[in-house]
């Protein structure tokens, strides 16, 4: 019997890849461990290894083929002693365009519904100063973050980055790609796996006059370092009577990725939001990722910058400007509406916009506020919106108790109680550690339908 070798998934999120090169040819004998082919994904180039012994029978996908879907049979391996004749009829190798494409990235849903709000959206004063006629460049969030760091490193020699795998490996999620090449190992520094130690060293360097960017491979690992983030970075200005500054950015991916289990899937928004002396930023789109990170690097305070791993690959518009800055502390109305306000940050903004589309079909006009900064929280923007819509749904990916939604709901009740037509509603992750199993994970995390249900609830439209 011949063995079908399929296009493997090389990462949790890979759906297709390019078969760049065959390392074997038909007729070659291979044993387990031999390299068969090179495959390229959006993140990396990798090799496919043989796990069985045999002779290379038919190669079914030619090298150079792009968009080969995971699971496509790329090669048939003959077990010892078999001839080519045992091969089943050659399976048709999918042509690139026949291969199903993954769903388009959600930049579509981040655009307000045209017929409903094009005009009104423009009438909303956004704080971003983008001169008319500025060109937009399609950029992945990953590259937008990289560009922000590179620009600030060019601008200010005191800015440097350190963390695990940021230099030679080009970043565990490739966010620091090519920084080592441009800035050298003095300013792009690989650390050992010592979060507590290098966070402390970063804080010391900031106190000593530098402007460190400390990357955590993920925020889950920053729990090793949280003492320095809070006790050393956040509190020092106050304890020194305003003398001792700590201008530092702690950044990395936050929240649930995909099927990586409870210890790697924690949303820390509300943890850091609790701490005076910190600024906490959580961008949704690529333009904000860039503009807010640049602002964070220039900020004289310690900034916790929460990214989302599942969004690094999303491609969105970024204004083509020399120095694009988005102010910290300002929320953004992403969609104008009149019946209910929905607040969200990071990836949840996309879910909220999706929900707003669904609600629009059912005759409910939702206003979506992207918080962008969690601390200081832009209460004014939220209160103003609630005074108009009289209803609010606070959506977040993390847990509910003492969460961002709990805080917003409280502020709304304190400052706009008389305007409310319904008690504030919250949408959040189920109150359990995140499970690994695919079905349970999906049940745990809030989605657009949860936001729709909550919005209908406060509109008494169920």
């Amino acid at each position: 019997m011949s063995i079908d070798i399929q296009m493997p998934a090389l990462s949790p999120t890979m759906e297709e890849g390019t078969l760049t090169k065959w390392l074997v040819k038909e007729g070659d004998s291979v044993k387990s461990g031999d390299m068969l082919a090179e495959i390229e994904t959006d993140k990396a180039t990798m090799e496919v290894e043989a796990i069985d012994e045999g002779v290379v029978g038919k190669i079914l996908v030619a090298e150079g083929t792009q968009n080969v879907a995971v699971g496509t049979v790329i090669l048939q391996l003959l077990e010892d002693g078999e001839g080519l004749d045992v091969l089943s009829a050659p399976i048709e190798a999918p042509t690139p365009d026949a291969t199903p494409k993954p769903a388009p990235v959600s930049s579509v849903s981040s655009t307000p519904e045209p017929e409903q709000s094009t005009a009104s959206v423009q009438s909303v004063p956004t704080e971003i100063e983008v001169p008319a006629g500025t060109a937009m460049v399609e950029t992945s969030i990953r590259d937008a973050l990289r560009d922000a760091m590179a620009e600030e490193m060019r601008r200010d020699e005191r800015v440097f980055i350190m963390g695990e795998e940021v230099a030679e490996y080009q970043g565990a999620y490739k966010v620091t790609r090519e920084l080592l090449q441009e800035f050298g190992e003095g300013r792009v520094i690989d650390t050992p796996i010592t979060e507590h130690g290098f966070a402390g060293i970063g804080v010391g360097a900031a106190m000593g006059g530098l402007r460190p960017i400390v990357e955590f491979m993920t925020w889950n690992f920053a729990m090793q370092a949280i003492d320095h983030i809070i006790n050393s970075a956040a509190k020092t200005l106050y304890m020194s009577g305003g003398q001792m500054r700590c201008p530092i950015v702690f950044r990395g991916p936050n929240g649930a990725a995909s099927r990586v289990g409870a210890q790697h899937s924690h949303d820390y928004s509300s943890w850091y939001a609790n701490v005076p002396g910190l600024k906490v930023v959580a961008p949704y789109d690529a333009a904000d990722a860039k503009g807010l990170l640049k602002s964070a690097i220039r900020d004289p305070n310690p900034v916790v910058f929460l990214e989302h791993e599942m969004m690094y690959g999303e491609i969105m518009d970024v204004p083509d400007m020399d120095d694009y800055l988005v102010p910290i502390g300002k929320a953004l109305v992403r969609r104008v509406g009149s019946d209910v306000t929905i607040t969200a940050h990071s990836r949840m903004v996309g879910r909220a916009l999706e929900a707003a589309d669904i609600l629009a079909d059912e005759g409910i006009s939702a206003e979506v506020i992207d918080l962008r900064t969690i601390r200081p929280l832009d209460s004014d923007a939220i209160i103003k919106s609630v005074k108009k819509t009289n209803r609010i749904v606070c959506a977040e990916e993390g847990w509910g108790q003492s969460g961002i939604g709990a805080e917003i709901a409280t502020r709304v009740m304190e400052q706009a109680f008389d305007y409310l037509d319904a008690p504030p509603a919250r949408v959040f992750q189920k109150d359990v550690p995140l499970p690994y199993a695919g079905n349970l994970e999906a049940l745990s995390l809030p989605n657009a339908q949860d936001v729709v249900a909550a919005a209908k609830g406060v509109c008494y439209a169920n």
């Binding site: 399929q6 998934a9 890979m14 990396a44 180039t45 699971g71 995909s258 199993a437 349970l440």
Partner: protein, 334 residues
């Protein structure tokens, strides 16, 4: 104190033992190869760290400790569970996130446990298992139960501060714990020389008075012998020891690692010259304790066990949605 082990000429063994060690290591190898394949097919998700190349470490340690002694390790944990006799089906079904897995599908590749087999996980945070392992030692001493704990961690983890806090307390309180460093030369893409000022990791306990030895971790019998000595030391109340096992991982750090930080030649050199399984196989043949047919028969057995595990892992149902809310807290009084 700390001294490189003088490699004894040829460790003693016998037919029965060596055949057993061969089987154990082969089971780990074949299981991991299959796991890699299932990952490629999308049946396993998230992170999946294979133990291929390091089989002699846990197999040799397991051959030297006693039933009831505890083990705890990092996310690279499949081999440890198989060595302890946890079922291949239960481990594989956890990898596929099914209800028949050791954590009912709620833990995944990095998080499995077995009270019955004294396996304390499966930990995702680099270095965190080290003080926990010392804590198991504290419990042993407190309960005076005669057990020792073994805690496995990587060369990368050896740079975490909590490792040293644990070593200090373990020596101060003479805890019966073996600190076993699986030095596979790399922490993700960072080679040991790029992360570590003093590369002899077995010396890392010196300033606390913790003895350490360096061991050829590709030689299952050398691992067994070094562990036997260290276990006797710990069990007799003299406190912890460090065993630095020199080993190598053949695959990437996890499934999504392109492994561009080392050459293909470096990997194949070790595979060809120092493979832990080939080493045992050659000795079995040389001593005439097995012929090629006998080894083929073992291979067939192992393949059948793994095939059965795969079948179970594919057919075991997903956890029931109601499982989402179970196991968060216990009722008081239970």
């Amino acid at each position: 104190m700390a001294a490189k082990s003088q490699k004894p000429p040829k460790p003693q063994t016998n037919k029965k033992e060596l055949l057993h060690l061969y089987r154990e290591m082969l089971l780990i190898r074949r299981f991991e190869e299959k796991a890699g394949q299932l990952y490629g097919m999308g049946l396993i998700a998230g992170f999946c760290h294979l133990y291929i190349g390091q089989e002699a470490v846990v197999t040799g340690v397991n051959a030297a400790i006693k039933e009831g002694d505890q083990m705890i390790t990092s996310y690279r944990d499949h081999g440890h569970m198989l060595a302890l006799g946890m079922s291949a089906s239960g481990v594989m079904a956890e990898l596929t996130g099914r209800s028949g897995g050791y954590s009912k599908g709620k833990g995944g590749s990095m998080h499995m446990f077995s009270v019955e087999k004294n396996f304390y996980g499966g930990h995702g945070i680099v270095g965190a298992q080290v003080p926990i392992g010392a804590g198991l030692g504290l419990a042993n001493k407190y309960l005076n139960n005669g057990k020792i704990s073994t805690v496995f961690f990587g060369d990368g983890a050896a740079n975490q501060g909590q490792v040293y806090e644990a070593l200090n307390m373990a020596q101060l309180w003479k805890l019966p714990t073996l600190f076993i460093i699986e030095n596979n030369q790399y922490a993700m893409g960072t080679s040991i020389s790029r992360s570590t000022a003093q590369k002899d990791l077995y010396k890392r306990g010196l300033s606390f008075g913790v003895e350490g030895v360096q061991v050829d971790g590709m030689d299952v019998l050398a691992v067994r012998d070094a562990t036997k000595k260290a276990a006797a030391h710990a069990r007799s109340g003299k406190g912890p020891m460090i065993l630095e096992m020199m080993t190598y991982r053949y695959r990437g750090h996890s499934m999504s690692d392109p492994a561009k930080y080392r050459t293909r030649e470096e990997v194949s050199e070790i595979r060809e010259e120092h493979d832990p399984i080939d080493m045992v196989k050659n000795r079995l043949l040389k001593e005439k304790w097995a012929d090629l047919d006998a080894l083929k028969a073992i291979d067939k057995d192992i393949k059948a066990i793994v095939a059965e595990a795969v079948e179970f892992a594919k057919t075991s149902p997903e956890p029931d949605p109601s499982e989402l809310y179970t196991d968060v807290l216990l009722e008081v009084g239970t």
